[in-house]
């Protein structure tokens, strides 16, 4: 017994996958009807939800060969083209009908070490004569150009009640008697991450023939619960020593704790208390700023002391009136990160089109461009190949942007259906935009023309 259980019990067939039925059906349907020209899939979702397993299981079920590239491989343009490019166009040697190319961790194409990697991936996708599956944790971290040519498949967090039977099954195979409560605790502690649950089971059960609650080793991702406890303790009457001990035990850095406290400060009932708490928090925040600016981590303790003792002092044991919430700024940051990614990629594209450096474009021309677009959005959607997200940056109206883009796409389709239009690609109006839509057989926005290449 020396194999890591997460690997040993990695599902070999689609039917063995836990949860995510809709995603698995979507994958199977995609594979069954796959022809050269079908869009690749991008499987995305949190760690441990079965993305990589599903891709391999699909290939196994259909007896396709697999070629996997992940972040542990260098992925420069040259290397991706050599490996995946060859894999995607040459016929398979072993006689299997197809070869599935799995580009794992596609959201982690490394900036400098993998120069040109994203472009190469698109190239490979465009030319591929073989099915391709990309895998990522977050769809928004994918280069936009990659995202638009793929069909997304969402993998959701696996529910605890689906995890429990899987754990029980493993216990049976390993000959371990395991109490139901212990299994449920493992499943619930895993936060939707099946692999984490299996790893916890493995780590707890090694060398045992029977597993009870007290055998569970306790450290799995419990930082949340203690950070909850810490925030709750701030509103109660607690001694300084106890509060400082809790801060030390919370497995998070002061900048994280600060955001948790900030988000729950409004539970103070009295405006003077809020003012006082905010003052302490802002002073703590200064220390956090100095810490990072100077890389002088000793200052962290002043941040901790000021925010914890300060906010507790301001709260004066007034009790907690409401439910402790995780920091909302994380959500905001996530959204703004996405906005930023959209903006940067659009700026770079426009910069190429207009031959103006991105910075200058943003500072000197953006207002003018926004006004022009506001005036005649459809034209720019067509000319610059904007999608709804891009357009929204200018119009700041999500609904309207989506509508306009849909309308333009509809018109485009109709125009292409008309028999005499645009038979030969050369007759297209000269446009600097690469990859304008020309082929009605595909819905892809950027690389419609690949059968012609």
């Amino acid at each position: 017994m020396d194999r890591d259980w997460a690997e040993k019990y990695r599902p070999g067939h689609l039917q063995d996958l836990v949860g995510n039925g809709p995603a698995v059906r979507q994958m199977y349907e995609w594979a069954r009807t796959w022809t050269p020209g079908t869009r690749p899939l991008v499987l995305y979702g949190k760690p441990g939800t079965g993305k990589t397993s599903a891709a391999h299981a699909l290939a196994n079920d259909l007896q396709w060969e697999v070629l996997e590239m992940n972040a542990s491989d260098q992925r420069t343009r040259a290397i991706i083209e050599r490996i995946a490019g060859a894999g995607s166009t040459t016929a398979s040697l072993s006689g299997a009908s197809r070869r599935l190319i799995i580009l794992d961790e596609a959201d982690n194409i490394h900036g400098t070490a993998d120069r040109g990697g994203a472009k190469a991936m698109i190239e490979v996708i465009r030319r591929s004569g073989q099915p391709i599956i990309l895998i990522a944790n977050d769809l928004y971290d994918l280069p936009k150009e990659l995202k638009t040519v793929c069909e997304p498949v969402l993998f959701r967090a696996v529910q605890a009640r689906s995890i429990v039977p899987r754990l029980r099954h493993i216990c049976t195979l390993e000959g371990i008697a395991c109490s139901d409560i212990a299994l449920r605790m493992i499943a619930e502690g895993a936060g939707g991450d099946l692999r984490a649950a299996v790893t916890t089971l493995y780590a707890s059960a090694i060398g045992k023939s029977r597993l009870d609650v007290e055998d569970l080793y306790t450290s799995r991702k419990d930082e949340r619960s203690t950070i909850f406890e810490l925030v709750a303790a701030l509103f109660k009457t607690r001694g300084d020593a106890e509060l400082m001990r809790m801060v030390q035990e919370v497995d998070a850095t002061p900048d994280t704790i600060e955001q948790w406290i900030e988000n729950n400060i409004t539970y103070l009932s009295d405006i003077h208390a809020i003012e006082s708490a905010c003052a302490y928090l802002s002073r703590a925040d200064e220390y956090i700023g100095y810490t990072f600016r100077r890389q002088y981590y000793t200052l962290w303790r002043y941040a901790s002391a000021l925010m914890v003792l300060g906010v507790s002092h301001a709260a004066a044991g007034s009790g907690l009136h409401g439910k402790i919430m995780p920091p909302s700024r994380w959500g905001k940051m996530r959204r703004s990160k996405r906005q930023k990614a959209i903006r940067i990629s659009l700026m770079n594209r426009l910069s190429h089109l207009t031959h103006i450096p991105p910075d200058q474009l943003r500072e000197d021309y953006l207002t003018a461009i926004a006004l022009l677009i506001e005036h005649d959005p459809e034209r720019f959607v067509t000319e610059w190949d904007l999608d709804a997200d891009d357009l929204n940056l200018f119009l700041n109206d999500r609904k309207r942007s989506a509508e306009i883009v849909r309308r333009v796409a509809g018109k485009m389709k109709n125009a292409l259906k008309a028999p005499e239009t645009l038979k030969a690609p050369e007759e297209k109006p000269v446009s600097q935009v690469k990859g304008r839509k020309s082929d009605p057989t595909t819905q892809s926005t950027l690389f419609g023309g690949y059968p012609h290449e």
């Binding site: 017994m1 020396d2 194999r3 890591d4 259980w5 997460a6 690997e7 949190k46 760690p47 441990g48 990589t52 992940n70 972040a71 542990s72 491989d73 260098q74 794992d104 961790e105 982690n108 490394h110 900036g111 070490a113 944790n137 991450d193 692999r195 984490a196 790893t199 916890t200 493995y202 780590a203 090694i206 060398g207 045992k208 080793y217 450290s219 799995r220 991702k221 930082e223 300084d240 020593a241 400082m244 030390q248 035990e249 497995d251 998070a252 850095t253 994280t256 002073r283 220390y287 100095y290 100077r294 002088y296 000793t298 200052l299 002043y302 002391a305 000021l306 003792l309 300060g310 002092h313």
Partner: protein
């Protein structure tokens, strides 16, 4: 002791899990891994000197015996930590077969939170694809600095700061082996200095042992350049009771006669203040003064001027709050 110049933290690093002091629950679990010959990927979190590295090395010895070096590799922050190392060196080590009949090798990545997130990302499939031939032990101060996909692959063990009993037990053990006598108040002093960090405790003991084989608290404070807790209390009492001149004299004695570094003094005042039973608003204000002074010193300000200003600020705050 004559002629023995080895560093005690290495000389007395426990070779077997069973010899480790503290972290009882963790050590028991790890022990059962050795007994059954199985090992999941592990993530050790905790502050310095609480036994993370010792546990990793002891695990390797437990699994591989005398030839543990052949199947164990340690990478720490002094090694190159970029994505290329993960892709080349680590992958190379992980995928080659274990030697000497072992079932797998162990790669110990110390200070894994210093890995860039790109490097961490490059690690995740390596951990899975070569799990057959290599198990990973990662150690870090805060698990929140380790990306979720890696946490998902590891059994997480949190090492706690060692308590006074653990520290004293180890110090007594070493003292016996080195033929030292250590007075009870010296044990207290060592525990005070250690702050849960065994390395610091053993260093303090070795430092004092240079002076004499009979160790008392005074020697411990002297060789570690630490003010005695009573001196700190003295300083704080005087400042809080608005005796500026008295406080200044104690300050001068600590800094100039005893030669305690201003940083160390600030550190000790901080610890004393957090624990001190006193008006809370004043306490927080004084801690803020400490922080401000610490920051200014780190920026290169003159320590004599800043420390005196600190005491003055203490006195003013104390007057305001009475």
């Amino acid at each position: 002791m004559e002629g023995d110049h080895t560093i005690w933290i290495e000389k007395y690093r426990p070779l077997k899990l069973a010899d480790m002091v503290g972290q009882r629950d963790i050590v028991m679990r790890l022990q059962s891994y050795v007994e059954s010959g199985s090992l999941p990927h592990l993530l050790f979190t905790g502050s310095a000197g609480v036994g993370k590295t010792t546990a990793a090395v002891a695990l390797a010895r437990g699994f591989f015996g005398e030839t543990w070096h052949m199947n164990f590799r340690e990478l720490n922050a002094s090694d190159e930590r970029g994505i290329d190392v993960v892709r080349n060196q680590i992958k190379q080590f992980a995928r080659t077969a274990p030697l000497d009949g072992a079932n797998f090798k162990i790669l110990f990545l110390d200070e894994a939170d210093a890995l860039t997130s790109d490097a961490q990302a490059a690690l995740r499939r390596t951990m899975e694809n070569y799990a057959q031939s290599c198990r990973f032990i990662l150690s870090c101060n805060y698990s929140s600095k380790i990306i979720d996909p890696i946490q998902s692959r590891c059994a997480i063990y949190r090492f706690r700061p060692l308590n006074k009993e653990d520290i004293s037990e180890e110090v007594r053990k070493i003292a016996e082996r080195e033929n030292l006598t250590v007075t009870p108040d010296a044990l207290d002093a060592i525990a005070y200095i250690a702050q849960g960090d065994m390395r610091r405790a053993i260093n303090a003991l070795q430092g004092a042992a240079i002076l004499s084989s009979h160790i008392d608290a005074k020697m411990v404070y002297e060789t570690t350049s630490t003010a005695r807790p009573e001196e700190i209390e003295d300083l704080l009492n005087l400042a809080i009771s608005s005796d500026f001149e008295g406080a200044e004299q104690v300050l001068a004695a600590i800094l100039h006669e005893r030669g305690i570094a201003p940083n160390e003094l600030i550190n000790q005042c901080y610890r004393a203040l957090v624990k001190r039973d006193m008006d809370r608003a004043l306490k927080i204000e004084l801690i803020d003064h400490l922080g401000e002074t610490d920051f200014r010193l780190s920026e290169g300000a003159n320590s004599d001027i800043q420390m005196e200003a600190l005491i003055a600020a203490f006195v003013l705050s104390a007057q305001k709050h009475t």
